[in-house]
């Protein structure tokens, strides 16, 4: 029994599905006799976009029987036989939407294991991997489309589910740096665009404040407050596009947030200090994932502040 994860997104949950029975055995046999098609789990392309399939054996004998690792990658540029790796990956991707593909407790993320995503992956396998180019789609007006669409290959028609609309406003630090308010509002206030003068904490407004600081807990607090991890509907406009990062310690444990501005860069407010659009190296923050974030070394995810969101 195999669990397959398409390592595709940076903000959305990756699609997962199951391949079992005769098909799983056939795939494992094929890989066992073409061992160079298998890449280690930590190898290959790690940039934005499709990073191959992660294959995990869920039963105790498959990996021993076929002398394969319990977890490995395919079609990620990390094997010695990428042609074969792609061929096997195509077989596995074609099983993504089979009726039995979700029948296991470890299959958690089924939202994006759909025909449009399957077809996208099959097409992506045929395309040579190019250097990723950020090509944010910006229609006229205030509404923009999310970075999870932006880093996927230009020229390939994107399924609608990759495209999330959100709103932006012009970068306005003066609003946040007013002496009457600057010390009373933090990064979460700024990112959610809610100046409450309460030095807001994720989850506090809705009774689910984080108990420890890590990506999951702080994310859960923000979701409790009304943030969305997936596309937010137009009825929830304005939808601010936020990014969450964590300082994991030791000694320095904290969270920090960014919000995308109309100009295309990201603004942020380190605690009670001034809101700004530059990172710790003085460079404009074009992407929170690659900005100099000082001790906030873990990038958690993107998410959306919906109109219904409350913070305190």
């Amino acid at each position: 029994m195999l669990k397959i994860t398409a390592d595709l997104f940076s903000g959305l949950p990756n699609p997962e599905w199951l391949v079992e029975g005769a098909e799983a055995a056939s795939v494992l046999h094929d890989l066992a006799t073409n061992r160079h098609a298998v890449a280690s789990a930590d190898s290959g392309f790690t940039g934005l976009g499709f990073r191959g399939l992660v294959v995990e054996t869920l039963d105790e004998h498959s990996s021993d029987e076929f002398s394969l690792p319990t977890k490995f990658r395919l079609a990620n540029g990390g094997s010695l036989n990428e042609s074969k790796s792609h061929e096997v990956a195509e077989r596995l991707i074609s099983r993504m939407t089979a009726s039995t593909a979700a029948n296991h407790p470890s299959i958690l993320n089924r939202d994006y294991a759909t025909d449009p995503v399957k077809n996208y992956l099959l097409q992506a396998l045929k395309e040579p991997r190019k250097k990723s180019v950020v090509s944010t789609v910006e229609p006229e007006g205030e509404t923009q489309e999310t970075a999870d669409a932006a880093h996927l290959k230009p020229g390939i028609k994107l399924p609608p589910i990759f495209v999330c609309a959100y709103e932006t406003t012009p970068f306005n630090p003066a609003f946040w740096n007013d002496p009457a308010h600057i010390s009373k509002n933090n990064c979460y206030n700024y990112a959610s665009n809610r100046r409450t003068d309460t030095f807001a904490q994720p989850g506090r407004a809705t009774g689910h404040m984080y108990s420890v600081i890590n990506c999951a807990e702080v994310t859960n607090g923000a979701v409790s407050d009304g943030a969305s991890l997936t596309c937010a509907p137009a009825s929830q406009a304005p939808r601010w596009y936020m990014a969450l990062v964590i300082a994991p310690g030791p000694g320095f444990v904290d969270f920090h947030w960014y919000r995308k501005a109309k100009e295309g860069f990201w603004g942020h407010k380190p605690g009670g200090t001034a809101a700004r659009n530059t990172d710790n190296s003085g460079h404009i923050v074009n992407d929170p994932r690659t900005a100099d974030r000082g001790p906030y070394t873990i990038f958690c995810r993107f998410m959306y502040a919906q109109n219904k969101m409350v913070v305190k």
């Binding site: 030791p250 947030w257 942020h268 200090t273 000082g294 001790p295």
Partner: protein
């Protein structure tokens, strides 16, 4: 420039972005040291308080003024800035001595791992 009243003086480490910063009460001798340094330290010329963004950004103290009001004091990276209604004054904190002395008063007042972290960032004398 004495605080005069004997009121408790709070110091805050400007450290976090999301969480509230650690704060503690300065012992009287530390307040006296701060006042003495503000009165005698040489002015800092051609210098400016830096803003490093994310991470440790120094200490801030709300220091009562005997003539009324509060001076906002920021101590960071070899400089001390005193801001009142009448303006800002910048003086030197050579070897970060004042900064270290104030941090030392936190040893039993903030979580040890945070105290250790701050000392590591500021570095040895």
């Amino acid at each position: 420039m004495s605080s005069g009243s004997g009121a408790q003086v709070q110091v805050e480490v400007d450290l976090y972005s999301g969480r509230p910063n650690p704060t503690w009460t300065l012992p009287p001798e530390a307040v006296a040291l701060l006042e003495q340094r503000l009165a005698t330290a040489p002015r800092a010329t051609n210098a400016r308080m830096s803003d490093p963004g994310l991470g440790y950004r120094g200490l801030t103290v709300a220091l009562p003024i005997s003539t009324g009001g509060v001076a906002s004091i920021r101590i960071f990276a070899g400089l001390v800035e005193r801001v009142t209604a009448s303006g800002a004054v910048l003086v030197r904190d050579d070897q970060r001595a004042l900064e270290r002395a104030l941090i030392a008063t936190a040893s039993d007042k903030i979580p040890y791992e945070v105290f250790e972290y701050i000392n590591r960032i500021v570095g040895p004398a």
